[in-house]
């Protein structure tokens, strides 16, 4: 399986993601610059955390108009998996691939800590290796992770089981305790916590490993059907 890690000016979790795929998941991975316009050779796209374009205007706003974005939108429409972490989630929201928006954290602080999450949907391409309602711990590191959407959108997210991760102890004021959501089709996941920072015990925590393993398992299952 071949992964693309998209690199924007100001991305700073791209190396962590690259390493999680190359050294821990042991699959192929390339850095793909925001200048590129083609993702044909890839099976999954990863949008890393960081501060793309310095968070100017709004987090993720400028990146959502970069050269690579039309290819990312096509990739989403083709049904292939896209994972946006932290700033990557913000880019997915700004580009309209996921509903809602991010506000400053409720208490205005940049929060950097390990946080307990509940797996609310384990039937996605990203969470099939977790148990339903499994409690996991992942690091968060953000100032703007306070998820906001209107009541209708929230009701739709809940009804369609699009809330994939929920904070067990809401750290930032997120509506519905939302930490991660998928699109209706289930192939685009945005999440504020950082699974790539928790992929092996050497890092003190490997709760994030199963997320990457899930993507691989899902891809292999799809390939077994078609080949």
């Amino acid at each position: 399986m071949r992964f693309a890690v998209i690199v924007f000016p100001g991305s700073n979790c791209d190396t962590d993601l690259f390493r999680a795929i190359e050294e821990v998941l042991c699959e192929e991975v390339d850095y793909v610059s925001h200048h590129e316009t083609n993702l044909e050779n890839y099976d999954a796209v990863l949008l890393p955390g960081g501060f793309s374009y310095g968070d100017y205007l709004r987090s993720g706003a400028i990146a959502s108009f970069s050269n690579i974005m039309p290819a990312i939108i096509d990739f989403a429409e083709s049904g292939k998996p896209i994972l946006g972490i932290c700033n990557g989630f913000q880019v997915l929201l700004e580009s309209g691939l996921l509903p809602g928006a991010m506000k400053r954290n409720e208490h205005l602080k940049f929060i950097c800590q390990t946080t307990p999450l509940i797996v609310e949907n384990n039937e996605t391409a990203f969470t099939n290796q977790y148990r339903l309602q499994e409690r996991i711990n992942l690091p968060i590191a953000h100032a703007e992770g306070n998820y906001e959407c209107d009541e209708g959108t929230l009701a739709d997210l809940e009804k369609n089981h699009q809330v994939v991760f929920r904070y067990a102890d809401n750290p930032n004021g997120s509506k519905g305790d939302i930490a991660g959501i998928v699109n209706e089709r289930g192939n685009v996941l945005g999440m504020m916590p950082h699974p790539e920072r928790a992929v092996e015990q050497l890092l003190g925590n490997d709760d994030g490993y199963k997320l990457f393993q899930s993507i691989l398992v899902h891809w292999r299952e799809q390939h077994a059907v078609t080949s």
């Binding site: 706003a61 700004e94 928006a101 400053r104 409720e106 205005l108």
Partner: protein, 83 residues
């Protein structure tokens, strides 16, 4: 030339954590009677007269300058002598 001034704030009904903190800070300094503080953004720029139509400016605001999911915007235009 036309000078365009764009004001962006969080929508009414969307809690504004910054606005709340600033309001509380004013109160702490003894300024009374302040309510519903909203902290927003102000942008100004010049446009060629022919380009500065309402529809164009609204598109700019809705596609980039503001995020319509959580923000409202308004703008003012003013004719200025070419620089």
């Amino acid at each position: 030339m036309v000078k365009v001034k764009v004001f962006v704030t969080l929508k009414e009904g969307v809690l504004d954590p910054q606005g709340k903190a600033v309001e509380q800070a004013l109160d702490a300094r003894g300024f009374r009677g302040v309510s519903e503080m909203r902290v927003g953004k102000y942008m100004e720029f010049y446009m060629d007269h022919e380009a500065a139509g309402d529809q164009e400016i609204q598109n700019m605001c809705e596609q980039l300058l503001a995020n319509p999911v959580i923000e409202d915007y308004r703008y003012e235009t003013e004719e200025v002598v070419s620089k």
